[in-house]
């Protein structure tokens, strides 16, 4: 076991996947820069050469399409979008192409591409440099969507993605980069094994979340513990295909449910969580109405005080849980 932070863990994931598989390569904007994607790909170009770590022109759509094309021809590219906001320009290749080629062409071919979208927000960056659009991609059949919340997952999910027989959207969050933990040595990972897990057990209320929202929820659970409220916190991990079984089973025990998500509310992943619970748990077992915490219905602001008001906090979650009763 070694101690690893989330940002470094991503880098380890790249290193493992690329060392293990000569057909795995990385491509995207900023990959030869010392700062573009934080420390998460530091010096990979030096390690693997600029032919396997390709920095590109400012062409999100063609770059992503090229990765899809290489994937359709036996490679396992990881195409990196330093922000999910810019990745919108590549949506056709992700949603119309990568997600559909297998099905549309009769199941004989698979775009084995990993699309890495980074959530990079805060720091007064504003509306076009802050978005978390995982809910869009979770909506689209054919894509697998992973969001790591821990350092081990940050590494292992990237490996799983690189080794996946299906196209994968791997979404990491810069706010998680310093989360550190002890991790076992890297190994191959079957993407189909990545399912929701319980990160903290509790009997009073179930919280489900992904990525940075898991950290917030765990922090809230700590706060609530002091009030004698025991929250169960489930890390969703795989948003598409999404398996609600564990969450439903938990809510059947706790009777209360809160979804926490770093995206917007309407048609967002928190809506999916609440709907999955509502559909799958008998109302008779619910001690109260489920709820969700998301961003406010607004683009991200820039000015410091508004930014502070915009993003959910552990305290906000704890307060909501308190309101939901025991």
């Amino acid at each position: 076991m070694t101690r690893l932070a989330y940002g470094d863990a991503i880098r380890e994931g790249f290193e493992y996947a690329m060392r293990r598989d000569p057909k795995c390569f990385a491509i995207g904007q900023g990959l030869w820069s010392p700062w573009y994607v934080g420390n998460s790909m530091k010096d990979l170009d030096k390690k693997f050469g600029k032919e396997r770590v390709i920095d590109t022109p400012v062409s999100e759509l063609a770059t992503t399409g090229a990765a899809v094309g290489a994937a359709l021809n036996g490679y396992h590219p990881i195409v990196v979008h330093p922000r999910m906001d810019f990745m919108i320009l590549a949506a056709d290749q992700i949603v119309n192409q990568a997600a559909k080629w297998r099905h549309m062409l009769g199941g004989r071919v698979s775009p084995t591409v990993t699309i890495r979208g980074i959530v990079n927000r805060g720091g007064e960056q504003g509306a076009q440099h802050s978005q978390a659009l995982h809910s869009w991609y979770a909506h689209v059949p054919g894509l697998r969507v992973l969001m790591p919340a821990t350092a081990a997952d940050a590494r292992d999910m990237l490996i799983a993605a690189a080794q996946s027989p299906d196209p994968v959207m791997y979404i990491d969050d810069r706010w998680c980069y310093d989360l550190a933990e002890e991790v076992a040595p890297a190994a191959d990972v079957d993407i189909r094994s990545i399912k929701p897990v319980i990160r903290r057990e509790g009997s009073d209320l179930t919280i489900a979340a992904a990525s940075y929202s898991v950290a917030l929820s765990l922090a809230a659970a700590e706060l609530l513990e002091k009030d004698g409220v025991a929250c169960e916190v489930i890390d969703v991990r795989a948003l598409n295909p999404f398996d609600p079984a564990l969450i439903r089973e938990s809510v059947e025990r706790t009777g209360r449910f809160l979804a926490v998500d770093g995206g917007w509310s309407t048609c967002g992943f928190a809506a999916e969580l609440v709907a999955s619970v509502a559909e799958g748990v008998s109302p008779a077992k619910l001690k109260g109405a489920p709820a969700r915490i998301t961003l406010p219905d607004a683009p991200a602001p820039t000015s410091a005080p508004l930014e502070k008001a915009y993003y959910p906090t552990a305290e906000l979650i704890a307060e909501r849980v308190r309101q939901m009763g025991r």
């Binding site: 759509l61 009769g106 199941g107 004989r108 295909p241």
Partner: protein, 349 residues
């Protein structure tokens, strides 16, 4: 906007109606071209009939009149190469000698189809023959072919990727991004624009300032050839050059093949009412520039090939198509489970 008629005689249907100049192409190769072109045309006519007879509803974009392009290009490809296409892709598939039954079955939505009945006319797949996929989002396969070229380069076996697209696709930004990317990375990609002067109902002069699209290749410093797309010999020569260059590490090439479709944008009718300059007269003139007839005339005149040879080939093709059609008609639709099972590898889990 002042429209530039850069193509000149190449876009003038009253020109280039004479027998082809066969240069030093071998008679055998030329007769094979004839065969391929007729097979494409007759297959598309058969598809038109299936559509008219309501044996299928899937949208069919027929390329009758444009057969020389795919045939001329494919002459220089082998199955290790990777061909991509768009909505009007039958000829690109057939010119690679991909299975005839499979395309007819696919158009009819059968499980024996090229895409196992999941794609119809607009989504074809026959990688064993080098046809790696067509899809109808205009321009979508252009960067995908570039990625295939990247794979070819990484493989290091001298293979190339080819992408067919139309003049309309040149209006999609992704074409320009892809040209730059392929150039910067020196990828072995042949961009083949079938410039048929139309994007659905709109003549190119309503959409672009010039009727020649090779200017985009030039802007991206990619070697290009602008040719009569109804001259299979000219297409073959241009493709040979550029493909050889690409195989040898010279990077991408761009062919602008000027041609015209005889039928409407979609479906089996000529819809001569749609499109500003697409008059019945103009269409009639373009039919005088028939790529098949011009080749036949030349083979007869310059190489003394007898009419009976063509008749023989025609008859073979009729039998081939009839057999394929029967096989396609006799096959099943996809089973219900594949609707979900094909979404993810190994099904949903």
């Amino acid at each position: 906007m002042q429209f530039e008629d850069k193509l000149g005689y190449l876009a003038d249907p009253r020109q280039l109606t004479e027998a082809l100049d066969l240069k030093n192409a071998s008679t055998d190769a030329l007769v094979a071209f004839y065969r391929d072109m007729v097979l494409i045309r007759r297959t598309e006519e058969t598809i038109a009939e299936l559509y008219t007879a309501k044996e299928t509803k899937t949208p069919v974009h027929l390329g009758i009149g444009q057969e020389a392009v795919a045939v001329g290009v494919s002459a220089h490809l082998n199955s290790g190469d990777r061909v991509y296409s768009g909505h009007r892709g039958h000829s690109h598939y057939l010119a690679l000698h991909a299975p005839l039954t499979a395309i007819l079955a696919e158009v009819m939505g059968r499980a024996t189809g090229a895409s196992r009945g999941m794609g119809g006319s607009m989504h074809l797949f026959a990688p064993e023959s080098g046809f790696h996929g067509s899809v109808p989002i205009v321009g979508a396969t252009i960067p995908i072919a570039v990625g295939a070229g990247l794979a070819c380069k990484m493989d290091g076996k001298g293979q190339v990727a080819v992408c067919y697209f139309g003049d309309g696709a040149c209006e999609e930004g992704v074409l320009h991004e892809s040209l730059n990317f392929a150039r910067v990375m020196d990828l072995p990609v042949l961009f083949v624009c079938e410039n048929n002067l139309y994007s659905s109902h709109l003549d190119i002069h309503l959409r672009q300032p010039s009727n020649s699209v090779a200017r985009f290749a030039e802007a991206h410093r990619i070697e290009s050839r602008v040719i009569d797309g109804n001259d299979v010999v000219a297409v073959s020569e241009a493709a040979a050059d550029l493909i050889e260059g690409a195989r040898n590490g010279g990077g991408p090439g761009f062919v602008e093949a000027v041609t015209f479709r005889w039928l409407g944008h979609v479906g089996p009718n000529a819809d001569i009412d749609v499109g500003v300059r697409r008059s019945p007269e103009e269409l009639k003139q373009w039919k005088e520039r028939d790529p098949v007839r011009r080749l036949t005339d030349a083979l007869k005149e310059a190489r003394g090939v007898d009419q009976s040879r063509f008749a023989e080939i025609d008859a073979e093709i009729e039998t081939e198509i009839a057999d394929a059609l029967e096989a396609a008609r006799g096959s099943d639709f996809p089973a219900g489970n594949v609707l979900i099972d094909y979404v993810y590898a190994g099904g949903r889990s």
